[in-house]
Structure formats: C-alpha cells, structure tokens
C-alpha cells in the first residue's frame, strides 16, 4: 500500500503504452498458442483453425506411459518439495535468526544454483552420482531437484521468516503458554503460509524441470521427459499440446497460491515491525 503512494501515474497513451503492450504480447503470445492448438481438431498446429474439440484431452488418460510419467513426476515433485523445504526452513531460520561469521557468503552460496547454467549443474550432478556409484533412478532426480529447488525455497522462506519478531514467542511464554503451546499457537501459524508457499513453489519447479531430470533419470520418465519423447511423432503433437496446457495451468495456479501465501506471511511479519504505522 505504501509503495503505491510513491508511484507516480504514467502519462496516458503514447509510445510507452504501445511498448508495454508489445512487451506483454512477446512474453505471453507464444504461451497462448499452446491452449489454442490443443483444442483444434487438426493434428498439425496451423492457422486457420479447423474446429473445436476436447478429444486430445480425452485421449490423455488412456496413455499408460503418460500416466506412469505423471506418477513419477508427482513422486519426484513431492519428495523434492518436502526435502528442499525442510532444508530451506533450517537454513532460512538460521540466517534470519542468528548472526554468525560467514552468514552472507553462505547465503550467497545457497542461492547460487539459481543462476548457474542448468546443463552444467546437470552434468556435474551426473558425474558425482556416477562417482558415488549410485545407479540413476527417480531418487537421483530427486537429489538434483532438491539442489535447484533450495534457492527458491530459501527465497520464499526468508521473506516469511524475516522480521519474525522473537518477542512474539516471548510474549506467548509470558502469557503463560508452554514451549510446545507457543510453537503451536504462534510460531507455526506465523510461518505456515511461507512453508506451504515453499512447498508449492519447489513442487512446481520440480514438475516442470527437464534438463536435470533428463540427465539423472534412469528408465523412469518424468512428464517433461515424456513430452520430449513424444515430440518425435508428429501425430502425438496435439496430445503433447493438451498435456502442456494442463501443466501450464497447474503451474500457474500453484505459483499464484504460493505467491499469495508468501505475501500474506511477509505482510504479517512486516506490519509487526511497523511501529509508527
């Protein structure tokens, strides 16, 4: 709310508006083609559209390889989300609550995978896994996904934990509550939105991730790998588009929920610091 007061109104019309439209179009128009062609009757993505149909969607549940890939993705996604969020909670709590030597460099190192080229990370992970004598499987994919999910988890959790006023827990104790009661009635409700948000974000990242999964999986395909495999067959393209649309919608919904929760958590702790409000 405070930020809006500082923003000035843009002058109406003019080049800036045109630029903004082109910019948004450039970002989202390609994505729009996906749902459009996924409900087209023709098997080749081509204008003009030939007619409306749900048949590509209806065909999805009857593809056993797809179902098993979806299960794999679900398992990997949940495992990666839980692991990266658990590790993220510990790290975020440490960096927001305590001052210790090397806090900043450690923070930077944890966030680094965010900007490392994914293919390099994937190859390095593959080398490490092979050196360790691990056979490639969904488990190794989970490990790889945890690595790339942790920075996202951390970003979400830190913004939820930051400014968590320690005196809230003291106040609870002061009002007669036990340590466990304080955790249940104050700490958990305060950080829960951030934790759920972190779970959703890391699940989504894992669900959509291709390169690391491609390198680290054995024979079990995840959804993106399945899609990659299907692209070889022109006839399967509409089904891939339909599946892609569903993934897109799912990711969008999950990330929106996550962001709403994250903001709610951040707002809570921030307003706590707003003594002069």
């Amino acid at each position: 709310m405070k930020a809006t007061a500082r923003l000035r109104l843009l002058p109406r019309g003019g080049w800036l508006t045109a630029y903004a439209f082109i910019y948004v179009g450039f970002l989202y128009l390609p994505v729009l083609f996906l749902p459009i062609f996924s409900v087209n009757t023709a098997a080749t993505p081509k204008f003009p559209l030939s007619g409306f149909t749900w048949k590509w969607y209806q065909g999805l549940p009857h593809t056993p390889e797809l179902i098993s890939a979806a299960w794999n993705s679900l398992i990997v996604g949940i495992a990666a989300a839980v692991l990266s969020t658990t590790l993220g909670i510990l790290a975020a709590r440490a960096t927001t609550r305590y001052r210790f030597p090397g806090r900043r460099p450690i923070n930077g190192l944890i966030m680094a995978p965010l900007v490392l080229p994914e293919i390099i990370v994937a190859i390095s992970m593959l080398l490490v896994m092979l050196q360790l004598g691990l056979s490639l499987s969904l488990f190794t994919v989970v490990l790889g996904h945890v690595l790339i999910c942790i920075p996202y988890s951390m970003a979400v959790l830190i913004s939820g934990f930051e400014g968590f006023d320690r005196s809230l827990e003291e106040a609870s104790a002061d009002l007669g509550e036990s340590a466990f009661g304080t955790f249940r009635r104050v700490t958990l409700p305060m950080v829960m939105p951030a934790i759920i948000s972190s779970l959703l974000v890391s699940f989504t990242i894992s669900l959509d991730e291709f390169i690391i999964a491609f390198f680290l999986t054995g024979t079990d395909a995840t959804l993106p790998i399945y899609i990659w495999g299907q692209l070889r067959f022109a006839a399967k393209l509409p089904g891939v588009l339909a599946l892609g649309t569903l993934l897109l919608a799912g990711s969008f919904i999950l990330l929106t929920i996550a962001e709403v929760l994250r903001r709610r958590a951040a707002q809570r702790t921030l307003s706590e610091g707003g003594l002069y409000a």
Binding site: D165, S167, E170, D174, L175, V186, R268, S271, A277
Partner: protein
C-alpha cells in the same frame, strides 16, 4: 498461574499506593548477571513494594532491561535470587511467574485480532466462554479500546497496539506488570498522553508496575520511586522529587536533566553536613551525600538551571550571583540563558519562563540571578 490471581484487584480500585502499608512485592537480592567477563548487572539489591509504580531508569546498557527480563523469567541471574511476593523465582520460567510484560515492540500477535490477542493468555485458564468474553471486554474497556475487538492486529495504530499489549497483560491480573520502554515508539504528544493514562491505569488497578525507561521525564512523571542505574549498578533509589533535587552523585544529577556544577573547597564537615566555599556562590552549607568520600577538600555542588531566577530592575534577593549573558536560546515556553559568572569554571545555564521577558534579554547584558541556598546540593563524584 490461576492460584496467584486476585480476582477483585481489577475492579476494587484500591487506595492510591502511597496510602497502603508497604509490603515487598519484588525483592532483588545480590543479583549479578554476567556474560563472560562482562557484568550486565552487578550485585543489585532492590525492593519494590506492592502497588508501587517503580521505574528503572538509565542509559542504554546500564542493565535495566537485563533486570526486567530476569524479573519476567526470560533471563536468569548468574548469582543471587529474585523473590516475587515472597517466593523465590530460581529456575521458574516466564510462563509460570505471576508477572506479565508489555514489550517494547508490543509483540502483538499479527495473525490474531484484538480480541484474540487479549484472550490469548485466558485460553489456558479454560474459563466459561461468557466469563472469558466478559474479562476481555473489561480489559478492553480499561484501555479505552471498547468496540475494536474485531479489528485486525495489522490495522492498529501505534497507540492502539500499545493498548492491546496492556490489555493482553492486564486481563490475566498479574501481581506485577513489567513495561519495557513502552512509550519509546510513540510520538511526543501521544507519549505524554500515555504517561498520564498509564499512571491513572496503575492507580485504578493497584498492580505493581515496573517500568524500564531511558527517558528521565517519563520516569519522573509516572513513578512512585525510581532506581537510577549506570554500568550494571544501581546508583540511587528514591522518589522522583528526591532523585531530581537530591541526586547522590554527579552522574545521577547529570542524567536527570540540566545541572550546573560548581567547584568548591570543603572548610568544615561532619557526618551529616558539609560547609563548602565557592567562588561564585560564597560559603554554602549542605547535606552530606552518603557516597561523599571527602579524602581531600575538593567538592562539587550542583544547582538546577530553573532554580536560578533573573532579578529584574531593582528587585533584590537574599542570595544573588551576577554575570554576563553570553548566549540566549528560545524554546517557546522557556528561554535558556548562558551566564558567565566571574570565578566560575563554566558559565551557568539558566532556564526562565517567558512571562517576564527573558526572551528579550540581549546577549552581553549583565544580569543578577537569585537562588535559594537550599537548591545547591553537594554531589559525590
């Protein structure tokens, strides 16, 4: 916690604390709190009486907050003991002490509304829902927040947050209410208003209040008694008036507002009084402060700036000192003059109210200042 609650204390409206027979509520016995080699609190001894509004006053790092947190149970003494209502508090955690605290940040639970914040501690008592509601309403009324129960914690102003913090603590009817710099986050006007309200509230509920503050005016305005602390030690415990008018040493005198220090030579002394010769104020006989060493004949006297009055025209006073105005500062209701007096090491500062035209005295004028010799106090170093 239930057994220590006095159910009538909130509504009964006890007589003002000054009239009750002093009964110790908090006893601090030889309490030291060390962090490694650093002593945050050093051999503190203090008794705070039931129904008293007591302030711990001092600059930051003097140990006042450490002491408060040890009374609350968030911190434990390294050596020594704290007694509350006659019971030793050794090893007893915050949640089992008959004290409640108003935090500096207020620590309002942001995920709960005003009502839920106030009812937080009551939940554990498992009261009848109607009784719980009644107590919450009563507490909200005490802090003038009636009708705001459903308001979200995030929608409150600074002053309202503070009231919620007060209500949340008072609703449990503690034996002692601890206040950690509760007014420091408020603007000046609201702060002054809350000082009056806090004092009024304390008189109404009759609970022992222990306030931590670094603001001497706050302590003077609200307290029955004040402990002034420096560097982990308690320097003086007295009523506001005595602390201000009879500070035991230079440090206390200096911390509690402006003070003119005047050097002198002891010419006569016994166990109760000192006679001191000064260059500006002549020979002065004063009470001997307990901490006065007197191993040489040097001594320091103090006089507050407002105890010096400008004499107009032909007016005379039994005790006068003359000097030249070298600076004049206008403060609206008062004017501060800096007057250079021959013989004094430092010029005197003088505070005059502006009803007689002190704001018009030109710099360079020679003025005569009247004082009461009683206002000159000997100060230990």
């Amino acid at each position: 916690m239930l057994d220590c609650l006095d159910t009538d204390s909130l509504s009964a409206g006890r007589p003002p604390s000054g009239l009750t027979v002093a009964k110790p509520m908090i006893e601090i016995r030889n309490v030291t709190r060390s962090y490694g080699a650093f002593k945050a609190l050093d051999e503190a001894n203090l008794t705070i009486n039931e129904g008293e509004f007591f302030s711990l006053l001092g600059p930051s790092g003097c140990g006042k907050t450490t002491l408060l947190r040890m009374i609350a149970g968030f911190d434990m003494p390294t050596t020594g003991s704290i007694f509350i209502d006659g019971l030793p508090m050794d090893g007893i955690p915050a949640n089992r002490r008959p004290t409640n605290m108003v935090f500096q940040s207020y620590a309002i639970f942001p995920h709960l509304n005003v009502e839920q914040n106030v009812a937080y501690g009551l939940k554990r008592l498992r009261l009848e829902p109607a009784e719980e509601r009644r107590r919450v309403e009563e507490a909200l009324a005490q802090v003038s927040l009636t009708g705001l129960g459903k308001r979200k914690a995030t929608e409150l102003s600074g002053g309202q947050r503070q009231r919620v913090a007060l209500a949340r603590a008072l609703v449990l009817r503690p034996k002692v209410l601890l206040l950690d710099e509760p007014l420091s986050a408020l603007d000046k006007k609201l702060r002054e208003q809350m000082q009056v309200e806090l004092r009024r509230l304390q008189q109404a509920v009759g609970i022992t209040f222990v306030l931590v503050t670094h603001d001497q005016y706050e302590a003077l305005a609200m307290s029955d008694r004040i402990a002034v602390m420096f560097g982990g030690r308690i320097a003086q415990v007295d009523t506001p008036k005595d602390i201000y008018q009879r500070p035991v040493n230079r440090q206390v005198a200096d911390f509690l507002g402006g003070m003119n220090f005047v050097r002198g030579r002891v010419v006569e002394q016994d166990h109760a009084s000192l006679t001191i010769d000064t260059l500006g104020f002549g020979r002065v006989t004063t009470e001997r402060p307990p901490a006065f060493v007197g191993d040489d004949d040097a001594a320091t006297l103090g006089i507050r700036p407002e105890r010096l009055r400008v004499l107009w025209d032909d007016a005379t006073a039994p005790h006068e000192v003359a000097g030249t105005v070298i600076e004049r500062h206008y403060f609206g209701e008062t004017t501060h003059l800096v007057v250079d007096v021959p013989g004094l090491e430092k010029p005197l500062s003088v505070i005059e109210t502006n009803d007689f035209g002190a704001d018009d005295i030109p710099v360079g004028t020679t003025v005569r200042l009247a004082y009461d010799p009683e206002a000159l106090v000997a100060l230990a170093d």
